[in-house]
Subunit: 591 residues, 2 copies
């Protein structure tokens, strides 16, 4: 069975040595001293490593079952959920007013990584509740907040997002679920929603569904979509649970992975619901939830890569097979460990440089969110809005690839289920799809975010990279990091210029390269983070750190990323610059 040990040391390094959170002006960040964050991270490491990780394979093997409308989660899940609730983990970054602990989002996101690594299917029950609560917090009335939030924030009640219908996923304007106003402020919802994660299960007293539906007579398409709160059990004014609502799970899906999360077909049959936010502005409210969810999903890519890497590394150190080409390294044993072989190292270094770079990237992103929300900083908001599709698309694509690399190190032992490596790839696969398939993320990035506010945010991004390079040009040891970063950033700018020049004439010229652009930008972001980590570790070494080995390792890993991963940008640029013709030449019936 695989193991998981939360990378708390690396998280502390990113928070304090690299991002220097305590020096940031964000309200609440002055409390984030090393002792405090370590205490939180260490406790989170305990529950994720000791309670949730051991249930990961159990969850995969047993899956969820549906009988007479009741979904049963795997053995041990309910107990574990109770422990997570009791620890106060579910409301870590939620307002104290509703029972949360009011920590910054950056701490919540560090927890999210651990939860996902330990047990992604389990983490989703809490994760979706968190997203639904955030939407109610942002768009609900005071009455709605006080009715729903306390029990959602402590996860006595869980939440869901209901968007997809059988005939529409990305194109939600086609949806058919109707919400008829009842004249008393309530609506009656009817329709079918599919792929509803945690739609029905046995770990909560109530389930609060957030449901997109159309109010008859409203505008056509996506502009006529509204968002509703539809509880499984109606809630009285005193918070007591009343009658069962007209919503039920029709079936659960057989899936490639995340077997322990129930993916439900939800049937709404005159279910009572209440408008959340404004009529016909449902997509806006849903996006509050979705933006946060997209970052949470991006983390899942990193999280599965991290746990897969941890186990692959252990295996590479222990499995004896073959001899080092430069001479035996384990002369007393029958063979050398796998880790002596250059191609195994290549794979491990790809994984290591990805997970550590990705962690710095998302935690940086989280500080932008805190600065945007707590600091009311419009520039931070613009930047994270630009980066969100990159975090989601790049980290889940690459994270998946890394789980495949980790699995490969086990050879045939990675293909059988016994060692749990297959589960990491199967679970990681969904992250490329849900919360907007990665092609949609690329479209969002290139078709919307690049031009947002007159291109201000992407220009700020380039400026930031440029300034960093300039400010660090004279630091000894930075050159091997800055030169490749400069080249990659130039490639990315050239791609952006190509889009501007050609996309005006033919939008397909930009959209044909959107996926490549998303990956290029992801590489530049990780390159920037590695350059920042390189600088932080050079400083630590210069200041006589007590842990020079840790920082030397960081510098070597930074050099690896620059030398072996960043050159991908030249390939992406060449693809982009080939324009629309190769992609669009064929008529649909010529394929």
């Amino acid at each position: 069975m695989p193991d998981y040990s939360a990378p708390t040391k690396d998280m502390a390094y990113v928070l304090h040595d690299v991002l220097k959170v305590q020096d940031l002006p964000t309200p609440g960040y002055d409390d984030l001293d090393r002792d405090f964050t370590s205490a939180v991270l260490d406790e989170a490491a305990k529950i994720t490593g000791e309670v949730l990780a051991p249930l990961n394979v159990v969850g995969d093997t047993q899956g969820c079952t549906l009988e007479n409308g009741v979904v049963r989660t795997p053995d041990g899940f309910k107990d574990a959920f109770d422990q997570v609730k009791e620890g106060g983990w579910t409301g870590l970054d939620m307002p104290e007013e509703y029972g949360g602990q009011n920590l910054p989002y950056v701490m919540g996101l560090a927890l999210t990584e651990m939860l996902s690594s330990a047990n992604q299917a389990f983490a989703m029950y809490q994760g979706l509740t968190h997203g639904a609560a955030a939407a109610i917090l942002a768009h609900g009335t005071d009455a709605q907040k006080s009715t729903y939030l306390p029990d959602m924030i402590n996860c006595n009640w869980t939440g869901t997002m209901n968007l997809t219908e059988p005939h529409c996923g990305t194109d939600l304007g086609l949806m058919r679920t109707r919400a008829e106003p009842q004249g008393d402020g309530s609506y009656k919802l009817s329709g079918q929603k599919i792929f509803i994660s945690s739609g029905e299960h046995d770990m909560a007293d109530n389930i609060i569904h957030l449901v997109l539906a159309k109010i008859p007579g409203g505008p056509d398409g996506i502009k006529g979509v509204s968002l509703f709160i539809v509880p499984k059990f109606l809630v009285g004014d005193d918070g007591s649970l009343g009658a069962r609502n007209g919503v039920a799970c029709g079936s659960i899906e057989e899936k490639m992975g995340i077997h322990a999360n129930s993916t439900c077909v939800m049937n709404y049959d005159d279910a009572t619901g209440w408008l959340l936010g404004t009529e016909h502005k449902g997509m806006q409210a849903m996006f509050t939830m979705m933006n946060e969810a997209r970052i949470g999903v991006g983390i899942q890519g990193l999280a599965q890569a991290e746990v897969a890497y941890q186990n692959a590394l252990t295996y590479a150190r222990e499995r004896l097979q073959g001899r080092a080409v430069t001479g035996d390294e384990n002369p007393d044993g029958p063979a050398d460990p796998l880790i002596v072989h250059p191609d195994i190292r290549r794979s491990l270094m790809d994984q290591k440089s990805f997970v550590e770079g990705a962690r710095a990237f998302v935690l940086w992103g989280a500080t932008l969110i805190d600065q945007a929300h707590r600091g009311k900083d419009a520039e931070a908001l613009g930047m994270i809005s630009l980066l969100t599709p990159v975090i989601k698309g790049f980290l889940t694509d690459q994270g998946y690839d890394m789980t495949v690399l980790a699995q490969q190190i086990y050879g045939g032992h990675g293909y059988i289920e016994e060692h749990g490596m297959s589960q990491f790839t199967r679970d990681a696969r969904i992250a490329m799809i849900y919360e907007g398939a990665n092609g949609v993320q690329a479209l969002d990035l290139v078709g919307r975010k690049l031009a947002q506010d007159g291109g201000k945010h992407v220009m700020a991004f380039f400026e930031m990279v440029k300034s960093f390079i300039k400010d660090n040009a004279d630091i000894d040891g930075m050159e091997p990091l800055l030169t490749p970063l400069k080249q990659a950033s130039k490639d990315l700018q050239n791609a952006g210029m190509f889009f501007m020049a050609e996309g005006m004439k033919n939008p397909n010229a930009a959209l044909s390269g959107s996926y490549d652009f998303m990956h290029m930008m992801g590489h530049v972001c990780l390159g920037l983070m590695w350059a920042r980590m390189g600088r932080a570790s050079l400083d630590a070494l210069a200041n006589g750190t007590t842990d020079p080995d840790f920082h030397q390792t960081k510098l070597a890993t930074a050099r690896y990323y620059m030398a072996r991963r960043l050159p991908a940008t030249t390939m992406h640029l060449a693809r982009i610059q080939s324009g629309a013709d190769p992609v669009m030449d064929l008529a649909a019936d010529q394929f």
Copy 2:
């Protein structure tokens, strides 16, 4: 449920328009006229599309079961196996002397693609038998051939390869299975083998295990390994089945995919076996089987990509979602089909250009094998020996990636098992591992094949690419294909030169880049095949073909490959040229 329709038209195009098999000097190729090959391909298409493909999901869902030592295959498998046997498909390219049809290997390989696309887990029962029979054909005594081959070639008996043990896979020198000589020409084998595909099942009267074991007192390590024939039931001189031998299936593995193929732990307990080939030269004999098997596994990558692509294409044409950015293309419908979107096209074109290029590549490889074996051509043998690790490693890596792309087009519907898209990725995953994990293929290519016979074969390869470019430089329409091919080939040569210059000083400098080199070379091979297809289609158009649309489509796809896929070589070259340091810098305990 997914569909499969064999790409017979494309196969005929490659055989006759591109490779022009009938013009080749290989013995037996003069019989391969279009009518004949079409008749064979069409019949093969029927049985694979109508009989095997419908059982693919059944096989995945039911899997194999082991009860009291008996492995039961999924419903319908035995009937289907009987139909395949009755059709004479199992011995298509085997000698007539033993009941085969004596067709060239290239025809057998076209069949292999279809079998794998239709039902990979099923195809393995026949595929491994074919490989085992080929080893007996090459290394067996006359008596062994007449005892085993007829019943293996008609698949009344099936075959297996027994290499791996719990503690050793790649490093077979560590193996512990012993073979004690009995003084009467027989041996008693004892030990445990794992991951034995088709090791036990209910579709054959007998199972002929080829088993690697050590004869006590022989040389240490891999040089003391011999190969044995160990039948499940002992075979009398008259071919009758006698006593059950001391070999049994201890358990079957739970795996990520190929559920319908039984992956067995085989326990040998004083099992009677006979030496195949020479004492202590077992690896040589096994390699006969393995080289063929590696090409067969390379095909599996292509085959899963092909069937996944076919279904993704249908879905992209039928699923209505969103509108084309350049204006509605289905104005009377609620939305446009997915295929209008540039990013969906990018994905489809990646898949299309891969599967068609890969098909040309492996069929070309098959003609080299025929020329080597039937034509006793040492140069062809050298070339296919060079290309074998590329076919295995590149086609299975890329094939897997393509199944992931195909699955992605389905969005959430690709993640649930209902549409069968998840199975294609889960089944394709094993091909990157078995018959030598792809890292081992890269090592074989760079560590052995490049330098084989003084580097003669790789030089012949470069010369072939160069000549093709030179010979076609003046043909109208070839320039957009030749310029990128020339660049990519130059990148590959530069990588080879880097290995020569640096690898002498430090072997890790070459081995750190082996994986990148394998992929680079794969791209150059597919680029060459696309250039050859481009030329063939330009000729067809110049000669007034009755199917201009087919050839225009080929040309557009060729341009796509050159513009969007070949630039990967620049990235691989940059990685390779960064040398050993980034990969090897860290000590094992620094990770």
